[in-house]
């Protein structure tokens, strides 16, 4: 097949486009969706608060995949194993309401208000010198981008998070006491959830980092502005007495869950196999994309400064995050081999 034959194969015949009709269609949609155009040139490759937040979100996903299970009894049932990822828009109001509902507690303290969380094997991030050492430490084949935008330069640094495990035990007493201490009212923990345990498993995880400051801790992704590629064994949560549907139902009864957030959570068709990724509604856009032949999630900020692509494939969760356009982020993601 020569060049002419390739040309012929890709030919689409004679066709014409009606640009004015297309522009009218665009105008109508922009008006209907009240899309506000960007007028100022966005800054590129700048470590802003947003990219730090996005990096933190990456850390959540990757570290969530770095939790591991040990010693599960026969009665333990797997209740959560993500097969796909979806974006859940979370507004500043949601964050504010949730903060009030927890009496100003941090998310970890808030979690503690419903029971006790204990590491069986805590995550211990460490840096290694090569990709093969990272793969050896993780125990799986690590994918790396085969092409990078020209804005990403230099050699990457590699971080590995070990396989680790944790248990969370729900407690009606703890829930009552925490509520009384904070002078707030929350629905009582259902009897079937009281005493139930969650065994959280996942990991190991590998992060590849371009543009990391020399003195940065590879576990602190907030220090890394250019490009982060994460790969982790998908987290699995098992329980000896509670289902995801029961947990979802109880979560939706909590004060501070806005109708919009509740609707987004309810819209997750299969919560037992869907990893929800919080997306700051005021700062970012998100939509499904096809990555490596599967459905993933694109998250981009409204100014084009940073973006992320998250997807799940073959029991692994992958994430590409950095100061990239959507096309670049998808190109990096699709080039991973």
């Amino acid at each position: 097949m020569n060049d002419n034959e390739i040309e012929k194969a890709l030919a689409t015949g004679d066709w014409g486009v009606d640009t004015e009709s297309a522009l009218a269609r665009f105008r109508l949609r922009a008006e209907r969706e009240r899309v506000v155009p960007i007028v100022a040139a966005p800054r590129r490759r700048v470590a802003t608060g947003w990219i730090r937040g996005l990096a933190a979100a990456a850390a959540v996903v990757v570290v969530a995949g770095a939790l591991a299970l040990s010693g599960a009894a026969d009665t333990v049932l797997k209740i959560f194993e993500p097969k796909q990822v979806v974006g859940v828009p979370v507004t500043q109001s949601d964050v504010s309401y949730l903060g009030q509902a927890c009496g100003g507690l941090s998310p970890q303290q808030c979690l503690g208000a419903y029971g006790t969380f204990a590491w069986t094997t805590p995550p211990q991030p460490k840096e290694v010198q090569t990709l093969s050492l990272a793969a050896g430490a993780a125990g799986f084949s690590v994918q790396t981008p085969s092409s990078l935008p020209s804005s990403v330069t230099g050699q990457p640094r590699y971080g590995v998070v070990n396989q680790s495990s944790a248990t969370y035990t729900f407690s009606a007493d703890a829930t009552r006491q925490a509520a009384a201490k904070q002078s707030r009212t929350i629905p009582p923990l259902p009897a079937n959830i009281d005493g139930a345990r969650l065994f959280i498993t996942g990991g190991p995880a590998v992060v590849q980092v371009w543009g990391a400051p020399a003195n940065a801790n590879p576990g602190e992704l907030a220090n890394i502005p250019t490009l982060v590629v994460g790969q982790a064994k998908a987290p699995v949560i098992s329980s000896d007495g509670v289902t995801v549907a029961e947990l979802q139902s109880y979560l939706l009864k909590q004060p501070g869950i806005s109708p919009q957030l509740a609707a987004a959570i309810r819209a997750i068709v299969d919560p037992a196999s869907t990893l929800p990724v919080p997306v700051p509604a005021e700062l970012a856009i998100s939509h499904p994309v096809t990555v490596q032949g599967v459905q993933g999630l694109f998250i981009g900020d409204n100014t084009g400064i940073a973006s992320a692509v998250v997807w799940q494939k073959g029991g692994m969760i992958y994430e590409v995050i950095g100061s990239l356009t959507e096309a670049q982020a998808l190109s990096v993601a699709n080039s991973m081999r």
Binding site: R25, F26, I38, S146
Partner: protein, 178 residues
């Protein structure tokens, strides 16, 4: 970017609010080319126009129309969005593909020629979805008429590398087409 999931009216209506003049200039200047790139990948003009609308909307939401990278951004986004749509839509029936083909490219009274051409076009789309993303994007951009310099800008590679990358892409395409 799921072009096939977007339902929009075919035409506009009077009264829709104006867009920034710079954006309208960009749209008028690049729309046909963006559709052309998507159509090389998808082989379907309607679907290519849906992809083009999504590409311009993504740009409009996130970038200023006078950004120096506007055109290369649109070209690259058109190729990648079309490849995403191609992978997402699954295999189309031969009949749909035949209907999507321009009538002037085939002899209307030659069923055998239509069948062979349809099969080839199906295979072309399958191959584009299968070869590496960057190779497929390169082919779509090059055979849509972009210069090496324009391809380099769109795909963020050195202009001096485009020839080599294109040859590799064509080799990959030929191997898969065999």
């Amino acid at each position: 970017m799921e072009a096939s999931s977007v339902t929009l009216p075919a035409g506009g209506r009077e009264g829709a609010g104006p867009l920034p003049a710079a954006f309208e200039r960009l749209f008028r200047g690049e729309y046909a080319r963006v559709v052309g790139i998507a159509q090389r990948v998808l082989g379907d003009q309607g679907e290519a126009e849906d992809v083009a609308q999504e590409v311009f909307m993504s740009f409009y939401r996130a970038h200023p129309a006078d950004a120096p990278y506007a055109a290369p951004w649109l070209h690259a986004a058109a190729a990648h969005a079309a490849l995403n749509a191609l992978r997402a839509r699954g295999r189309r029936s031969r009949r749909e593909t035949a209907e999507a083909m321009p009538s002037d490219t085939l002899a209307p009274d030659d069923p055998a020629a239509i069948a062979v051409a349809t099969e080839t076009r199906d295979e072309v789309r399958t191959v584009l979805a299968r070869i590496p993303e960057r190779s497929a994007a390169l082919l779509a951009l090059r055979y849509s008429g972009l210069s090496y310099a324009e391809i380099a800008q769109a795909l963020d590679v050195r202009a001096s590398s485009v020839g080599t990358l294109l040859r590799r892409a064509e080799d990959a395409f030929r191997r898969e087409m065999k």
